[in-house]
Symmetry: C2
Subunit: 221 residues, 2 copies
């Protein structure tokens, strides 16, 4: 039955039942309360994590400034980087809501990789996606102004939302940190998008009113 | 004998002989002259490439501006991104010197992944490294000024050079594009580093004179 639940979860959806049972048999489960750190940048990395429930923020801090790389939810994973190479964590991870994580040790992670081609393929696809996202971030910072970057960030963060019109709860500070900037310019950019009728934003809820114009501002075809 | 040669090459160094022979048996070899494009961003991706000899530039262009992501040499690979997910190329690839490439078709690439755990592991490690590099690029752009970014780029580009002091041939335009900026600010920053006795730069050859100070400017410990 647990296998059934897991199969609905994105990371596991590409895995066969045999692979899935193997993952399950070696994973522990750990609970984190909202605000609790899972690990900090530069910690030694000894575990791989899959989100069972809740929401995890991946971010970096340099000299007091903060950049959020991603918000991860049910079925998404993290912590693979230091197990694949660098030994120390390349970013920090923090629970932003009460969360449960599947925890897999370094040794078991390596075993999964060697024994389960589907597991490796799934990991490879996700790393390729994240790399592609990071390169788009770089492009975006070099070539776009704050409005284009905000448009892109809103589209990124809403990509899995099925409801039409797209609504999402997001804090202005979080949005600023996702862009790696401060609250004031983001607040100004939000107001510009509101005045143009492209989005609405009230009490922490953002609604996309004109997806086509948002895409064109983000430089998407 | 070819197996012997390949084993010295970084991508293959982690593979056993059986895996290696499998890669070899399914790869074609293609020649490119200096300046020739291997593929362009947005092309459909149907091949995976390993550099046999020469030098390949991976870059993106947005509205006339250019950003170089990497220079790849013997034993390094590229082209995996669109085979793992996105279908179209996420960046452009061009030979900057006369080059030979091993070419592996999409179908054979998938077969290699499923049948050879070591091949997958090697790919995963490299993607993790590149993701980590991309995230450092993002951090660097957000948190450093042009001097810090130049210091970081010089260290990146010289990472595999064994000679002491480190010398490398690099064009100011290429350096600017590696930073995603234009020639003038880079030229100014190079002169600052020269005046401080940290590097020397003459007729396209850069010499690192004070690695420790360069590292501290780049924010490395």
């Amino acid at each position: 039955m647990v296998t059934g639940i897991l199969k609905q979860v994105s990371f596991f959806s590409g895995l066969g039942s045999a692979d899935l049972n193997k993952v399950l048999s070696i994973a522990g489960v750990k609970k984190y309360t909202a605000g609790q750190m899972v690990f900090a940048k530069q910690d030694l990395g000894n575990n791989f994590f899959i989100v069972k429930s809740g929401r995890i923020k991946i971010f970096t801090t340099v000299g007091g400034k903060r950049k959020i790389f991603a918000f991860l939810k049910k079925g998404e994973f993290f912590g693979e980087m230091s197990l694949l190479g660098g030994r120390v964590r390349s970013a920090s991870a923090q629970a932003v809501a009460d969360s449960e994580l599947f925890v897999i040790s370094k040794k078991n992670f390596r075993r999964l990789l060697c024994e389960n081609p589907e597991f490796s393929l799934k990991l490879l696809q996700t790393l390729a996606e994240r790399l592609s996202k990071a390169n788009r971030d770089v492009e975006s910072m070099l070539f776009h102004n704050i409005l284009g970057r905000l448009a892109e960030a809103i589209l990124d963060l809403s990509r899995d939302t099925r409801a039409k019109p797209v609504k999402m709860a997001i804090d202005q500070n979080e949005l600023a940190q996702y862009l790696g900037t401060t609250r004031v310019p983001v607040c100004r950019a939000i107001n510009t998008l509101k005045r143009s009728g492209i989005i609405d934003y009230r009490r922490g809820e953002l609604v996309i009113l004109n997806q086509a114009r948002l895409k064109s501002m983000a430089g998407e075809a």
